[in-house]
């Protein structure tokens, strides 16, 4: 591993050693620059050209005095004036050229990085999104990538141009007067050393500020998404004080940056002035001792003066680079995470006419960053066409089990098999087209109802759509202003919880997937609608393998068999009992306790441990 650094990227962890040099992270973005390197070079050349033309214009003044005016030649004034105009226009054109290339290259690089970032985020597993606040991701996607654009479009170019100017003019200065020229070069050494030190500080500070900006974004997002809770309890004050604390911290972090930057500015403005005064002192002595002519001294000093701004602006350019560098670091942190739920290298394909057999083989699952298993030793075979209901107390891991089927998570140990093939060996797209889900929390996207419905089956026919709507009792969509073309979701029409649930259910049953995973899909429906949906679902499930999380007896009745899960515990949930609804009702008190409404039986037993019906559960609860 140590010998091949290229392999480091395959590590799923964030690299702990982010900086190995001032531009370490930025350098890693080179692949994004490559397509634009031609434009970047042209941009640099136009910037350099503009600088040179700018230097040339004053020289024309000398020609003016020595030429036409000295000879009283009025006619010669005109071409000279034309030359001045020409140089000015050349400068303008070069500026325009630079901005033109800048626009194409920098914006192109920015857009490419942002697309790559988004693409990567969509590949990262659900577990990643569970642990990363979207505010942090938003700030990386917008703020950080914006500062990358600024770096590639501006700071990088002028670092090069200013560096080149310094070397060129410095060379000329050495040519004019070796000692003073060398002093200028030598004097840049401490400045560079100081600059690197201050840069390192600025890097840390801008990283802290960027992280804090992400936290602010996170807090803002939470306060917007949780606005109902905030309003219901009148906790605007509490949220404000949290926000204010973060915003104030952000301010103080920005102030730290400003302090470093102003110090940098000051030092980079001071150094050339000090060097200048030294040159004047040495130059004056040299002239007085006859070693140097006065004219040469004046030339030397006026040439040196053209270096003031390039040196001074280095402070800002370097700070900008550090800011971009830490931004790159933050972007790469995400890009470096290798999605651990991805297509296997050697993909297997299930039989095309697959029946939809679903098998859990000794499955255990522990959430990342947790040492407590949620599920352990879970074995279940759902035959093709069979429907199994998962029943169990709150928080026992029913939802987690359902998420293992479409590989939203991978098992910690054991296997999930679809038609005899480990889901990890199936291509994700194939697996997920076989398995359709309806979640407890129905997510609709800001798109038309039709697009929301046909998401899994883009080529669905109108009949299929109508059938799905009928099954889910979601005909109400036809009464929306633009029927199926009405936009719903966050940026569209607000639907009620029950309405959303029905659309989400219709989406799941559309196209009759071979495996249907339903996580308490009817919780928000009224009894009447629920009854109708169940009736229709019965017909769907007859031809489909089903895994249904059920809280209510009516939902359980959709299933051929019921799996009762044991209560959550430190060892993880496992199967407590399996049987048909009637069997379990008859033989299993724990099951009765979970599904029966008749409270008289249980009221007394509430505080005690629930009765158990087989030895397996006894072991777990001990």
């Amino acid at each position: 591993m140590e010998s091949t650094p290229a392999e480091v990227t395959s590590k799923p962890k964030i690299p702990d050693e982010p900086r190995r040099g001032a531009f370490a992270s930025l350098r890693r973005l080179t692949p994004f620059i490559r397509p634009y390197r031609g434009q970047m070079v042209l941009m640099t050349l136009s910037a350099l050209g503009a600088t040179l033309v700018g230097v040339a214009v004053p020289l024309l003044t000398k020609d003016l005095i020595d030429g036409p005016i000295a000879h009283h030649n009025k006619a010669a004034l005109w071409p000279l004036g034309g030359l001045v105009l020409l140089f000015g226009i050349a400068e303008a054109v070069l500026f325009w050229l630079r901005r033109w290339f800048l626009q194409r290259a920098a914006l192109g690089i920015e857009a490419d990085i942002r697309n790559a970032f988004y693409r990567h985020l969509q590949k990262l597993p659900v577990a990643f999104h569970d642990s990363w606040q979207s505010g942090q991701l938003v700030s990386r996607m917008s703020g950080d990538i914006n500062s990358l654009r600024r770096f590639f479009g501006f700071a990088l170019i002028f670092l090069v141009v200013n560096g080149a100017t310094f070397l060129l003019v410095g060379g000329a200065l050495i040519f004019i007067h070796t000692v003073m020229g060398l002093i200028i070069y030598a004097a840049s050494v401490p400045l560079i050393l100081y600059g690197r030190l201050a840069d390192r500080r600025y890097h840390r500070q801008s990283r802290a500020a960027q992280d804090q900006a992400g936290d602010v974004a996170t807090l803002v997002e939470e306060s917007a998404l949780g606005i109902r809770a905030v309003k219901a309890f009148g906790r605007q004050g509490l949220l404000y004080s949290r926000f204010d604390e973060h915003a104030k911290t952000l301010r103080s972090l920005e102030l730290r940056k400003i302090r470093t930057l102003s110090e940098l500015w000051a030092m980079f403005a001071l150094q050339p002035q000090l060097v200048l005064s030294l040159c004047v002192l040495i130059g004056a002595y040299a002239v007085s001792s006859g070693a140097l002519t006065l004219g040469t001294l004046v030339a030397f000093i006026s040439l040196y003066l053209t270096l003031l701004w390039p040196i001074e602006s280095m402070a800002w350019l370097m700070a900008q680079s550090q800011e971009a560098n830490s931004a790159a670091e933050r972007v790469l942190e995400v890009l470096d995470i290798v999605p651990n739920i991805a297509d296997a290298e050697a993909v297997a394909h299930s039989r095309p006419a697959s029946a939809g057999e679903l098998v859990f083989e000794n499955v255990s699952f522990t959430y990342p960053n947790s040492d407590r298993p949620v599920i352990s030793g879970f074995d279940l075979r759902v035959a093709a066409g069979e429907t199994v209901a998962l029943v169990g107390p709150t928080g026992c891991g029913k939802t987690t089990l359902t998420a293992l089927v479409p590989r939203l998570y991978d098992t910690t140990s054991g296997r999930v098999l679809v038609d005899g093939v480990d889901v990890r060996e199936l291509p994700l797209s194939e697996l997920r087209s076989k398995v359709a889900c309806a979640f407890e929390d129905p997510t609709l996207f800001s798109a038309s109802v039709r697009e929301n419905l046909t998401m899994g089956v883009p080529d669905a026919s109108q009949e299929q759509v109508e059938e799905a709507l009928a099954i889910a009792q979601a005909d109400f969509v036809n009464e929306l202003p633009w029927a199926l073309d009405t936009r719903v979701g966050e940026q569209g029409l607000t639907l009620s919880g029950g309405q959303r649930q029905r659309v989400a259910l219709a989406r799941a049953v559309l196209g009759r997937p071979s495996i249907l995973v339903l996580d308490d899909p009817l919780s928000a429906l009224d009894i009447h609608t629920e009854g109708k949906v169940e009736e229709a679902l019965h017909s769907v499930l007859r031809g489909t393998t089903g895994l249904v999380v059920a809280h209510r007896p009516s939902t359980v009745l959709l299933a051929d068999r019921v799996v009762l899960l044991s209560p959550p515990g430190p060892e993880g949930t496992t199967i407590a009992a399996v049987g048909t609804h009637q069997e379990l009702l008859r033989t299993c008190p724990a099951y009765r306790d979970i599904l029966s409404q008749t409270s008289d039986l249980v009221d007394a037993a509430d505080e005690s441990e629930p009765d158990t019906c087989d030895s397996e559960l006894m072991e777990v609860s001990r």
Binding site: E91, Y118, S134, S142, A224, R487, L493, S496, G498
Partner: protein, 627 residues
């Protein structure tokens, strides 16, 4: 889409980048007002900073002068062996350099501090406003947009503060100073320069008009990008389960392209503006060279004057470019301020009363609806077009939900609201919590109109638990204490125990201190609902509203909650909405709603005995669903 005169107000114009002149001007006036409001408290400090720049400029200018002194006086003295003058010059140069850069550091610090304080205040204002705006606003605006307003818009302003302010002061002073010097040197030549001003102003106006639209477009594009991005992150399970990645990528790519081309437009405008200024400068310089040369030859001015003038000219135009660059950042910042001032100007349709009435103490919890009529407000059409048609006007908006509702719930009564979806049950609950105001009639708590209550009083009196129970990232204990900040651990545990959540919470790895993670993702839906219950219970309201609050609970948990409710609701008023009629067992009274009206009202037993009524029918259906 036509822009009416009122459309520019508020967020209605968020989508439009090319506004008719009048609306554009008013938008800009609005953002200037906001800028003024932000700058005003710092006037003195800013004036002080300007003074500091002036002093610093003097020290800066001293450099070249000192060099000339060194050459003119230092060298002759040195030839005489006198080190005095050159040493003096040397020391003076060092002193002025140190002073100039020291002052610069102080100035940058000071201006930076002012800028950051302004940003902080702006963030505070906007955040507070968002929190105050009614739910109807948030339902339209989307969380992504809120994020964008509070992150990327202030960022745009930050750029203005970072890059602009010191350069601007410097440039303005230099332009003014050099302008005077030129006028002193030669008036006719200065007039040539003045001739360029109208051309520059025209160019500036052109740039101003177009860049305002361009920057407005960039603000809108980044907001759309963020909205889509946030939507993807928050819906990632569904994205993956339904293989939406490719379509998402397509949409994101489009939005990203739009942002790119909006930025490109702004950059191209600048790429014309600055060279335009340069061209004008070149024309003026050429004119000065020719006209000045003629004047020299005609003996009207000295050569030295012309040389000086030409040199000054360049130092005159360079800072003008800086000013143009500043103006560019200013335009970009103004576009951000336009968006922010739009939010700040958004009318709060549910304003707190200017003089709130107090609730009688002790609080009884009587609830009454007197002749209440309600229809949901019509939606504004500010959605971006990823696909599909914008949903506006129709749908839920505009339709009357409650035609005329009269209801009196005595203090302490537990009322169950039943009826089909869309009957108006939740609407009734939302009106009681003042998430909306009725168009007609009044909702009262203990005889006081909820519109006359201070928000804190109302929230102390009435608390609602719904099926969407948002938990904040943080510990379980923090989330329960959300109901009553400052609650002790004992109180928190008591609440959890009362509701039957204690058992599962203590089984969590770190018990009450377990971090529930983003949106409570670490807990199951049922557990989140239990925490939400505990949160409401600890708030100890006189009126508790439960809107489908047990829908995600399994039967035992629901039973536990029901049992807890018997005690909890003993001394308070409760309004319970539930499809599953298990709730009714604890209700004193049942209301059946249909199309926004109460069609049955009575004790559950009485309604059941009647046998043929709607409630009896619903109850029958429910019994059957239990199996």
């Amino acid at each position: 889409m036509t822009t009416t005169t009122t459309d520019w107000r508020g967020v209605a114009t968020e989508k439009k980048d090319d506004l008719p002149d009048k609306a554009g001007i008013r938008l800009r006036a609005r953002s200037r007002r906001l800028l003024g409001q932000l700058v005003r408290p710092h006037r003195r400090e800013l004036a002080f900073c300007a003074g500091m720049v002036l002093v610093q400029t003097v020290f800066n200018m001293a450099g070249p002068y000192l060099v000339s002194v060194g050459i003119d006086h230092g060298i002759p003295a040195l030839r005489r062996g006198d080190w005095g003058p050159i040493t003096a010059v040397f020391v003076a140069m060092i002193v002025s350099a140190v002073l100039a850069s020291g002052l610069r550091a102080i100035f940058l610090n000071k201006v930076g501090r002012i800028g950051q304080t302004m940003l902080l205040n702006l963030r505070r204002m906007v955040f507070t406003k968002f929190q105050a705006l009614p739910l109807a606003f948030h339902e339209n605006y989307t969380s992504g947009r809120v994020i964008s307003r509070l992150t990327s818009d202030p960022d745009a302003l930050n750029d203005l503060i970072d890059n602009g302010l010191d350069g601007l002061l410097d440039a303005l002073l230099t332009v003014a100073g050099i302008g005077v010097m030129m006028a002193v040197l030669d008036i006719p030549l200065t007039l040539v320069v003045v001739l360029a001003f109208p051309a520059m102003l025209l160019l500036m106006r052109w740039f101003s008009r177009h860049s305002a639209a361009a920057y407005r477009r960039t603000r809108e594009a980044i907001a759309a990008l963020i909205v889509h991005f946030v939507e993807t992150c928050n819906g990632i399970r569904a994205v993956k389960a339904f293989r939406r990645e490719p379509r998402n990528e397509e949409i994101f790519g489009q939005l990203n392209n739009e942002f790119r081309s909006a930025n490109a437009r702004a950059m191209n405008l600048l790429a014309i503006f600055i060279p335009g200024m340069k061209t004008i400068a070149a024309l003026v310089t050429a004119a000065v060279v020719i006209y000045g040369g003629l004047r020299v030859m005609d003996g009207n001015i000295q050569i030295g004057v012309l040389v000086g003038f030409v040199l000054y000219l360049r130092r005159f135009f360079n800072p003008l470019e800086d000013i143009a660059m500043f103006y560019n950042s200013f335009q970009s910042g103004t576009a951000a301020l336009e968006k922010l001032s739009g939010v700040l100007e958004e009318a709060n349709e549910l304003p707190e009363p200017a003089e709130p009435k107090p609730l009688p103490a002790p609080l009884q919890g009587r609830v009454s609806f007197d002749g209440v009529t309600f229809a949901y407000p019509k939606r504004e059409s500010d959605a971006t077009s990823a696909s599909g048609i914008e949903a506006e006007d129709i749908g839920t908006g505009g339709k009357v939900i409650l035609p005329l509702l009269n209801l009196d719930v005595p203090a302490g009564q537990t009322v169950a609201l039943v009826g089909a979806t869309g009957a108006g049950k939740s609407t009734l609950a939302r009106l009681l919590c003042r998430f909306y105001d009725p168009q007609d009639g009044a909702v009262r708590v203990d005889g006081v109109d909820v519109r006359d209550l201070a928000d804190t009083d109302l929230r102390r009196a009435v608390v609602m638990v719904t099926q969407e129970n948002f938990l904040f990232a943080g510990s379980v204990a923090d989330n329960i204490a959300f109901g009553r900040p400052g609650a002790t651990r004992a109180e928190i545990e008591h609440a959890a125990k009362a509701i039957g959540a204690h058992q599962f919470i203590s089984a969590l790895p770190e018990g009450y201190d377990t971090d529930v993670k983003k949106r409570g993702g670490r807990l199951s839906a049922g557990q989140r609902q239990l925490v939400a219950f505990a949160r409401a219970f600890i708030a100890d309201p006189a009126v508790l509203v439960l809107d489908e609050a047990t829908s995600s609970l399994d039967v035992p948990s629901e039973r536990m909650v029901q049992r807890a409710l018997r005690t909890i609701l003993a001394d308070r008023t409760a309004l319970i909405i539930a499809h599953r009629l298990s709730t009714v067992e604890i209700a004193h009274r049942v209301l059946v709603m249909e199309d926004g009206s109460i069609v049955e009202d009575g004790e559950p037993e009485a309604l059941l005995e009647a046998g043929s009524g709607r409630f009896a029918g619903l109850h029958q259906a429910w019994r059957e669903s239990l199996v």
